[in-house]
C-alpha cells in the first residue's frame, strides 16, 4: 500500500466515527426531552457530520479515482465501515446517549489536541477546528452526567445501567493496530495510548462527583476498526444510505 492509501485508511476511521456518531445524535431530532435539548443535540450532530465531511473529502482526494465524500458515506457496506463500536450502538434512552457522548467526548478532546500536532497539515487543520467544538461538547456533557447521576433515583439508576452497558466498548478507543503504529511513527496519527490516563482521570472525576460508581472492567469488545460490527450498524446504514441505494446518483 502506498503512503496515501495508508493515510486514507486512517482518515476513513476518523470519518466513520464522526458520521456514525453524528447519525445517532441526529436520531434525537424531535425526540429529545425538551425543545432546548432537541436543538442542542441536533447542533452537536451537525458538528459531527460536518467533521465527517472534512475527513471524507480528504480521504477522497487521497484515494482519487473518482471517489467522493458521498461514495464513502453512501455506497460502502457495514464490513467496509471502520468506526468504533461505541459510536454505532443504538441511541437507547436519554441516559444512554448522554453517557456515550460523555465517554466519547472525554476521549475526543485530548485526541484532537494531539492530532493538531500531526505532521499531516490537513489533519492538523481539521483537528484545530474540531477541538473548539469538542471543548464545548464535553462541558455540556459533564453537566448532564452530574445532573442525571446525582439526580433522582430513576435517573441515577438509568445512568448506572448505561455506564455498565457502555464501559466494555471504551477499551477499543485505545487500541492500536499495525496501520496506526506505522502512522504514529511517522507523526501522522495520534497514539491513543498516550491519552488514556487523561481520559480515565476526566471520566473518573466526573463520575465520582455525579455519585456514579466507576464500572469494574470485566469485559471488552472490539472489531470496529477492522469492519466487524454489531448488527445495529447495518440498520443505521440502511436508513442513512436508502436514497442513494434506491436511486443511485440522486441529487437534491
Amino acid at each position: 500500500m502506498s503512503d496515501n492509501a495508508h493515510i486514507a485508511k486512517y482518515v476513513l476511521r476518523l470519518a466513520d466515527d464522526a458520521l456514525v456518531l453524528g447519525h445517532r445524535l441526529s436520531e434525537w431530532t424531535s425526540r429529545a426531552p425538551f425543545l432546548e435539548e432537541d436543538l442542542a443535540l441536533t447542533n452537536v450532530a451537525l458538528d459531527f457530520v460536518g467533521r465527517a465531511r472534512m475527513y471524507y473529502q480528504y480521504a477522497a482526494e487521497l484515494t482519487g479515482g473518482g471517489a467522493t465524500e458521498d461514495t464513502f458515506a453512501y455506497t460502502r457496506d457495514a464490513r467496509e465501515f471502520s468506526n468504533l463500536l461505541l459510536c454505532e450502538l443504538p441511541r437507547g434512552d436519554f441516559a444512554f446517549s448522554v453517557v456515550r457522548q460523555f465517554l466519547y467526548d472525554a476521549f475526543a478532546l485530548p485526541f484532537l489536541r494531539e492530532l493538531k500536532g500531526s505532521s499531516d497539515q490537513r489533519l492538523a487543520g481539521i483537528a484545530a477546528k474540531a477541538e473548539k467544538e469538542s471543548t464545548y461538547h464535553l462541558r455540556r456533557g459533564k453537566e448532564w452526567v452530574l445532573r442525571l447521576g446525582d439526580g433522582t433515583t430513576e435517573s441515577h439508576q438509568r445512568m448506572r445501567q448505561a455506564l455498565d452497558e457502555l464501559w466494555g466498548y471504551t477499551h477499543e478507543l485505545f487500541e492500536v493496530d499495525a496501520l496506526e503504529e506505522a502512522l504514529i511513527a511517522e507523526g501522522i496519527a495520534v497514539d491513543p495510548r498516550t491519552i488514556r490516563d487523561e481520559w480515565q482521570q476526566t471520566v473518573t472525576s466526573v463520575l465520582i462527583q455525579a455519585t456514579l460508581p466507576v464500572p469494574e472492567s470485566s469485559w471488552s469488545v472490539q472489531g470496529g476498526r477492522t469492519g466487524y460490527h454489531t448488527e445495529s450498524l447495518g440498520y443505521l446504514l440502511a436508513e442513512l444510505q436508502f436514497m442513494q441505494r434506491a436511486y443511485p446518483g440522486l441529487r437534491w
Binding site: 451537525l46 459531527f48 497539515q121
Partner: protein, 171 residues
C-alpha cells in the same frame, strides 16, 4: 504606564486578513462581497463575520476563500450561493470556492462595530466575562441552553426584562 489590557490587540491572522484586503489589486471584488450578509444575522457581512478570508482574480477567474464558523454550519452553503450570486450579478461568473479550515475561525476576529450591530439586531455579542442582555443591557442573565437556534449561539434569559435572547458564543 498604559494598561496593556486596554490596548485592543488584533489577532495575527486577522491582521493578515485585513492586510490582504487593504493591499488587494482588486478592491472591487471585496466591495461586491460587502453586499453579502450572514443569513442568520443579516446585519453582518461575510467579511465582518470573518468567514470571507480572501478573494482574488487570475486567469481561471475569481477565487473565493472562505472559512466555516462551525464545521457543520448549514448556513455555509447559503453563504457560498449568495457570494456566487453577488459576483455573478457583477459579471464574474467563473468562481472557484475554497473552504479553508486553518486558521480556525474565532469570535476574536469580530470588530467592535460588528459586535455593536449584532447586539442591535438582538444577538448578544461574544465576550469574555460579562454577558449583556441585548434588549436592556442588564448583566443579570441566566443560561437556558448551551445551544440556541444555531450551533454558533447559546440561549440565555435576562432576569431584568425577562426576555430570552441568543448569545453568539465565544470560541
Amino acid at each position: 504606564m498604559p494598561n496593556a489590557d486596554l490596548i485592543p490587540l488584533l489577532p495575527e491572522e486577522e491582521l493578515a486578513r485585513r492586510t490582504r484586503r487593504a493591499e488587494s489589486p482588486h478592491p472591487e471584488l471585496w466591495s461586491i462581497l460587502d453586499g453579502v450578509m450572514d443569513p442568520e444575522i443579516p446585519v453582518i457581512t461575510l467579511y465582518e463575520l470573518g468567514v470571507l478570508q480572501d478573494v482574488y482574480l487570475d486567469d481561471d477567474g475569481v477565487h473565493l476563500v472562505m472559512t466555516p464558523t462551525y464545521i457543520g454550519c448549514p448556513a455555509m452553503g447559503v453563504m457560498e450561493e449568495d457570494a456566487r450570486a453577488a459576483l455573478a450579478a457583477a459579471g464574474y461568473t467563473t468562481v472557484t470556492v475554497e473552504m479553508r479550515l486553518a486558521p480556525a475561525w474565532t469570535t476574536a476576529w469580530l470588530t467592535p462595530e460588528s459586535r455593536r450591530k449584532m447586539a442591535e439586531y438582538g444577538v448578544a455579542a461574544p465576550s469574555g466575562e460579562n454577558i449583556q442582555c441585548p434588549q436592556c443591557r442588564s448583566e443579570a442573565v441566566v443560561i437556558i441552553s448551551e445551544f440556541g437556534s444555531t450551533a454558533c449561539k447559546a440561549l440565555y434569559r435576562c432576569q431584568s426584562c425577562s426576555e430570552p435572547f441568543d448569545l453568539f458564543k465565544a470560541i
